[in-house]
């Protein structure tokens, strides 16, 4: 074979394959990177870190539910019926505040008319560094506007197999696009059978550490300021509905045992003060719902509550229950300090079978 023919044939074949696979990837666009869903095609919504950016930029909506796994079980249908919205749900498993903030910035800059953002703020996230992230190999090429790195998306064997081909089969089988009620949700029963898989009660009780150092206070302020307050102030026409994720009493116990309880309360105080300074914020705390937090059946581990609690949270917020204000937040903190210091944690273990 003559070398010119070999070269032309080989490069021609490579380019043809790239074109033939790249084109349907762009047309169908399973992660909505270039456009929204095409009519008549059914998409599986299943991969948060690959799809959320496309969803917020290309879907039609006026409210967002986001946050970590604590928000995965929300139902947009409930949100819509209570708040009269057309909402989407875009949570991230194991999310850091920065990741959520970046996503919201992408959403709000594309669609500034968003009425509500509902964000369940992880109660254990205040003291983290502002850029804390619990993941590797982030698909950055989906989160920027640089077309030169989109090759990583259109020529990607995993996306080709898991998204494009699977979605085509999914559509041909007559399935419908995943609803936001279903997207990311998980249904696991609560109780000790679940909790004991990951929970370990430390025998050791460490002495209680004093409050936050100046450096630690600064860290909380940077974390909340950079990731939340900045965003909230930039979009004054959007109402931000924040709530502190209601962890179980087992979580509070772990704070009292590892000596960080006072620090946590101080971080909560700082966060609360910063959030309440923003006029377009409504902040909710459900720590006083002790019938929820004190019942292990509501939890699959010491933090994650079951899906039924997400439903309750939406109703509480709609009814204004648990609203934290400048007038009541100190009282709430004092109550948390006293209540969870004096709590009879042993009672939680009465049904525990090792």
């Amino acid at each position: 074979m003559k070398s010119k023919k070999w070269f032309a044939g080989t490069i021609g074949a490579v380019l043809s394959i790239l074109f033939l696979i790249g084109l349907p990837m762009i047309i169908i666009d399973p992660y909505f990177h270039f456009h929204g869903p095409i009519p008549g095609f059914s998409y599986r919504l299943y991969s948060e870190r690959y799809m959320n950016d496309g969803i917020v930029r290309h879907f039609d909506y006026d409210a967002i539910i986001t946050g970590s796994s604590m928000n995965q079980n929300f139902k947009t249908s409930t949100m819509d019926s209570l708040f009269g919205t057309n909402s989407i749900k875009v949570p991230f498993s194991g999310a850091g505040f920065q990741e959520i903030s970046n996503l919201l910035e992408r959403a709000l800059s594309t669609n500034p008319d968003i009425k509500y953002v509902l964000w369940g703020i992880d109660y254990n996230g205040f003291n983290r560094e502002y850029d804390w992230a619990g993941y590797d190999d982030y698909p950055d090429y989906l989160y920027d506007d640089n077309p030169l790195n989109d090759f990583a998306y259109i020529w990607n064997k995993t996306i080709l197999y898991e998204a494009l081909i699977t979605d085509v089969i999914y559509t041909l089988k007559g399935n419908e696009t995943t609803t936001f009620d279903e997207y990311s949700s998980w249904e696991v029963g609560g109780g000790w059978d679940q909790i004991r898989k990951t929970y370990y009660r430390s025998d050791e009780v460490l002495p209680m550490e004093p409050g936050l150092s100046e450096g630690a206070k600064e860290r909380v302020q940077t974390n909340i300021g950079e990731n939340i307050v900045k965003l909230v102030k930039k979009y004054p026409n959007t109402q931000f509905l924040f709530f502190y994720t209601p962890y179980s009493a087992l979580y509070w116990e772990s704070l009292t045992r590892d000596g960080t309880f006072w620090k946590q309360l101080e971080a909560e105080k700082l966060t609360t003060e910063m959030l309440l300074d923003c006029p377009n914020v409504s902040l909710y705390s459900f720590a006083q719902m002790t019938d929820i937090t004190g019942n292990v059946m509501n939890y699959r581990d010491k933090e994650h509550y079951v899906a039924a609690i997400n439903e309750k949270i939406l109703h509480w917020i709609a009814d204004g229950e648990g609203l934290v204000t400048k007038e009541n937040y100190e009282e709430l903190l004092q109550w948390e300090l006293e209540y969870y210091t004096d709590y009879d944690y042993d009672e939680l273990y009465t049904t525990y079978v090792p």
């Binding site: 790239l18 790195n149 990607n156």
Partner: protein, 495 residues
């Protein structure tokens, strides 16, 4: 910019190659070397794609070194002064960017006094382009008559993007005469085919093999406290393969890309794991580095001309330097010293036995070959460990006698999309019973490949443009391109 990225392969490379030949076609009689200016500017874009600020560094380095040689030429009686000035600049730059953090950590450890210093980010390929320019300065100092290069020739040589960030360490006399060859300025389809073929082999080594193995190794090194004999052996075998596929894959790609411009780069790897002795290993592994140390350190120190003891000392010393060149960590220094020590011992034994007994007999050869392979595997683990303590723990865990590979180790293989497709055909049942089945099979295939198959250089030599080589190139290129998105960075960028 990475070779293994869509932007390089689909945008950058075609533009540079087409631009190069177009310029040569339009301006083939011009006194200004537009083709080299084009290569230089495009190489700077390649270098600064992720961090544009480092373009200033390489430009400064090129200009400074070139000025030093101009000064040597002008002030012939003060040649030594300008040589020292050039060397001080090069080693100063290298020390600051590569070794300052390490130096300060050790000062802190020794004196217990802490000076706050800013952590310095290591620029890509600084060790490579520094050494390349050191060799030029020294050669110019020794004999400048044959080296009157224009600035654009020099700049295009140092920055030539295929070899810029991870070698091979090309010498000026290898590349600049090729820049001047008018025959090489015209499209040559034989070279385009050969270049594309070599590139596809290198890309596949890097993307399909090295990056898959790297995930296995990363888990093993992250969870090193939980390792055992089985896991340790798997991780060690995987890392030895990973570093070879990674580095030699990069060099194959560099050689292939250079061929697209009709340029030949020196061979850097020649099936190193087929070596029968450590000495032979270094004649097969990273040849251009060994060559550099031999020409510019070993021979000036006296080489083997000043008695046996001095020879042993010189050998040990260049390996100590080689360790330090690879990275600013005691692990690299120990790795270098260990190789130096074994090289020295091999030389001593060869001297004592006059090459007859130990290495002469077949049985000894076979036994020694196995020992060399074991030694190389273990020494790579020093290289891979973040600290000597981690290496010690790794080796202790390796000796604990438990052979069950820990459960997360096979995950990167079992979860690979290719194997998940195979699982649908029934292979999934095997991995349910033996989770490490695919991993072990993959490692065995890779080892057979490196020990028994032809290397890229040999394949290039026997290359014929037929439908088989075309198919291999198409499959490897397409498969690799579709595997880009979950690939890591090249290991040798930081050396």
């Amino acid at each position: 910019m990475l070779f293994n990225s869509g932007v390089f392969l689909v945008v950058f490379l075609p533009i540079v190659v087409i631009g190069y030949y177009l310029i040569n076609k339009i301006n083939n009689r011009s006194a200004i070397p537009y083709d080299l200016i084009w290569l230089f500017l495009m190489s700077l874009i390649f270098y600064g794609y992720e961090k544009p600020i480092f373009v200033l560094l390489i430009v400064l380095s090129i200009v400074w070194n070139y000025l030093c040689t101009r000064m040597m030429n002008r002030f012939i009686n003060h040649k030594k002064f300008f040589l020292v000035l050039g060397l001080l600049f090069n080693f100063g730059l290298l020390f600051y960017f590569k070794y300052f953090n390490f130096f300060m950590e050790n000062v802190y450890a020794l004196t217990d006094k802490y000076w706050a210093w800013k952590n310095i980010f290591l620029p890509l390929g600084i060790s490579f382009f520094t050494f390349q320019q050191v060799s030029f300065l020294v050669d110019y100092y020794r004999d400048s008559t044959a080296m009157e290069y224009s600035f654009w020739e020099y700049a295009a040589f140092v920055s030539f993007f295929p070899q810029l960030v991870a070698g091979p360490i090309v010498l000026h006399q290898e590349l600049i005469p090729q820049f001047r060859d008018s025959v090489k300025k015209r499209i040559n389809y034989d070279n385009l085919c050969l270049g594309m073929y070599a590139f596809s082999l290198g890309l596949a080594k890097k993307v399909l093999l090295a990056d898959t193995l790297s995930k296995v190794v990363a888990i093993g090194m992250r969870d090193f406290l939980e390792n055992n004999t089985g896991t340790g052996l798997v991780v060690m075998a995987a890392y030895t393969l990973q570093i070879y596929f990674d580095f030699s894959g990069y060099c194959d790609m560099a050689i292939g890309i250079a061929k697209l411009f009709n340029f030949s780069l020196p061979v850097n790897f020649n099936s190193p794991y087929k070596a029968g002795t450590v000495r032979e290993f270094w004649k097969r592994w990273h040849l251009t580095l060994t060559r550099f140390f031999t020409i510019y350190v070993y021979i000036p120190l006296g080489g083997s001309r000043k008695g046996k003891l001095r020879t042993y000392g010189n050998t040990f010393f260049i390996f100590l330097l080689s360790g330090l060149w690879h990275g600013a960590n005691w692990t690299f220094i120990c790795w270098g010293m260990l190789h130096g020590l074994l090289m020295t011992v091999e030389k001593m034994v060869a001297d004592l036995t006059k090459n007859r007994h130990i290495f002469g007999q077949k049985i000894w050869k076979g036994i020694y070959r196995v020992w060399v392979l074991v030694f190389i595997n273990v020494s790579w683990m020093i290289f891979r460990s973040d600290s000597l303590v981690i290496f010690r723990i790794f080796m202790q865990r390796l000796a604990n006698g438990s052979w069950n590979v820990i459960s997360q180790i096979p995950d990167p293989i079992n979860k690979k999309i290719e194997f998940r497709m195979l699982a649908r055909l029934g292979l999934g049942r095997i991995t349910e019973v033996f989770p490490s089945f695919l991993l072990v099979a993959f490692l065995i295939c890779c080892w057979i490949g490196v020990l028994c198959m032809k290397n890229t250089q040999e394949k290039m030599e026997s290359f014929t443009g037929n439908w088989k080589t075309s198919l291999v190139t198409i499959v490897l290129l397409v498969w690799s391109i579709f595997s880009f998105s979950d690939v890591g960075e090249f290991l040798y960028f930081n050396f």
